[in-house]
């Protein structure tokens, strides 16, 4: 059994191991001890903080094997994208070119540099070891973040976004970067991601032109990469699509990867969860559900059998599960169908 909980400074060695395995493009999991340490430290502070809006907080979670204590995955939530530095994306847009005299009305696809998504809550740092992909545990790893948001709505934005890693080949070349970014920088994709890791992403964005980029002029491979998702990122992408996230409007400025967005209130897990009072008892034959407490520093989420009584507003759990979730009878618990 696995439990999702806030990361601790003592997790650093295990998280380093995970970061080393995560693909290029997941800049939120840098393969760099100091930055990971800072990330955990910021998360600890965020969980401890007493805030009433979404500010600089970043929440970093780990998926722990309750038997062995081993970590097999990470995920994170940034309370407010663009809080510390501007959060840039390309917006997919069409321009209308009209000539009444010729009776022509053509729509031209352009990419416009924007920071529309500033202030949105950002889901980041999703990584799970291969054996647990496409199981209830990968669902837990991604969706428990949404229950964290549901449990503490005042700490997060009205919209939630997530940047999906875009297409790149085995040599680390990104067709979108090669067709767009390279024009302005003459450095390759891996180098660009490296700079981002060190200098921050807005550093490069600020050097990109503010003029719209005409998509029909881009090389075919770059056009095709627009809004695509790297095969290695299909799992987190599919989970969010099932949650009702939309894909059309924004893409990543580096690799053209899809940026998904949803109104917080409309996300399936957030709209569909129930808040219940915990009862300890028999759960044989009960459905397996997504469960999360409403605590912060003691935030826990897992997947397990639970019986919800809608009328009473209660949820019945085994004692073991209650222990894993750090709750006792009478505590609040968020429950959502898998």
């Amino acid at each position: 059994m696995f439990v999702l909980r806030p990361s601790r400074l003592t997790d650093l060695p295990a998280i380093e191991r995970i970061a080393a395995k995560s693909p290029v493009g997941v800049t939120s999991l840098p393969d760099n001890r100091e930055r990971l340490y800072a990330k955990i430290e910021a998360s600890v502070k965020s969980f401890e903080s007493d805030v009433c809006g979404n500010g600089e907080e970043t929440y970093f979670l780990v998926l722990e094997d309750t038997r062995t204590g081993e970590l097999v995955g990470t995920s994170g939530v940034v309370a407010s994208a663009g809080y510390q530095e501007p959060f840039y994306n390309y917006r997919n847009e069409t321009l209308i070119h009209a000539s009444r005299e010729l009776g022509v009305h053509s729509k031209i696809h352009v990419l416009s540099l924007c920071h529309d998504l500033t202030g949105n809550t950002l889901l980041t740092s999703f990584y799970i070891d291969e054996p647990y992909q496409y199981t209830e545990w990968s669902d837990l790893l991604s969706r428990a973040r949404l229950l964290l948001i549901a449990g503490h709505p005042q700490r997060f934005g009205d919209s939630v976004v997530s940047e999906m890693v875009g297409l790149s080949d085995e040599q680390g070349n990104s067709p979108f970067w090669d067709g767009v970014g390279r024009l302005f920088f003459d450095i390759d994709y891996a180098q660009a991601e490296l700079y981002c890791g060190i200098k921050g992403r807005s550093f490069i964005a600020e050097l990109l032109p503010q003029h719209p980029i005409y998509v029909p002029l881009l090389p075919e491979p770059a056009q095709e990469a627009i809004g695509q998702v790297h095969p290695a990122a299909m799992l987190p992408f599919e989970i969010l699509i099932n949650e009702g996230f939309e894909t059309e409007r924004y893409i990543d400025i580096f690799d053209g990867g899809c940026v998904v967005q949803a109104r917080t209130a409309n996300i399936r897990t957030i709209a569909g969860h129930r808040r219940c009072r915990v009862e300890i008892g028999e759960t044989a034959g009960a459905p397996v559900q997504l469960l999360a407490n409403r605590k912060l520093t003691d935030y826990r989420a897992t997947v397990g059998a639970a019986v919800v009584d809608e009328q009473q507003g209660t949820v019945r759990l085994s004692q073991t599960l209650a222990d894993v979730l750090c709750v006792v009878a009478g505590d609040a618990l968020l429950v959502c169908a898998l």
Binding site: E101, L102, S106, L183, F184, D186, K199, P212, L217, L218
Partner: protein, 339 residues
Amino acid sequence: MFVRSIVAADLASLMALARSTGVGVTTLPANEERLSRRIDISERSIAGTAPRQDANYLFVLEDASGAVVGTSAVAAAVGLDEPWYNYRVGLSVHASRELGVYRRLQTLFLTNDMTGVAELCSLFLHTDFRHSNNGALLSKSRFLFLADFPERFSDKVIAEMRGVSDDAGRSPFWESLGRHFFKMDFSQADYLSGIGNKSFIAELMPQHPVYVDFLSEEARAVIGQVHDKTRPALSMLQGEGFSYQGYVDIFDAGPTVECALKQIRAVRESKVVTALPHHTQADDITYLVSNRKLSDFRVCLVRSRMTPAGLPISPEALSKLNLAVGDSVRAVPLSAREE
């Protein structure tokens, strides 16, 4: 051979000339109504009754038999009625000392910068007459008109040079840029533009800067380049002081060459002198000579040599110019080489 302003009676000859050109010369369509309108505008321009935005002076080359074998024209000021579009080839530098990045990118900006300038246009010479300086006479006679009546024109004069296209009329620049923005062939766009629909086409072209690096290699190579057949015309204009200053055609990226009116060699170096009786000299050179008359403007070539007293001109030439000895003429060596 001599050049003169067109008159209404030239319509039949002009039609005959237009028919002989075959297809493709959009500025000289074999359409009686349109040619008749062109002649009318030219006559009204000379009479001073055409508003400046319409003024367009059309000249013809008349051969010994009295036939019209070529045309040339000057528009007083373009773009005052409908917008006149060019791309301007600019430079954009993206650099970051911290990242060690320095990129110099060519950009194309849609502009109307040429609004209000005078334009050399409608140059056409029947193939049978493309020899013996006829082309130079036909084209450069306009400069003497500019020199004689500068107040009728803007301070700047341009000429749009045909860009690169292949034998099938395919323009690499068009294929790489224009075609994406509206689905038609270059020849069709060029035709619509030629018959005066340019502004409507331009509505469809990108308004935001286009980075040249996004274009095909072929397209990049022809920006500001002329068609092989236009090379002699370009050389001639360059010899007169015209130069490419970064403006190109929005369809085929052919260069727009420009020169300040007063800096055109044939304007700057032309002199108003007295016509003297003729006497042949060993070191005669070819002069371009105008009669300086607005209502019956004429230009021809004269072999002679300037003297302090004036320019000796043969009786035949004087008769072409409708002048007599002692009248005033404007003369300039036909080309800088002659001097």
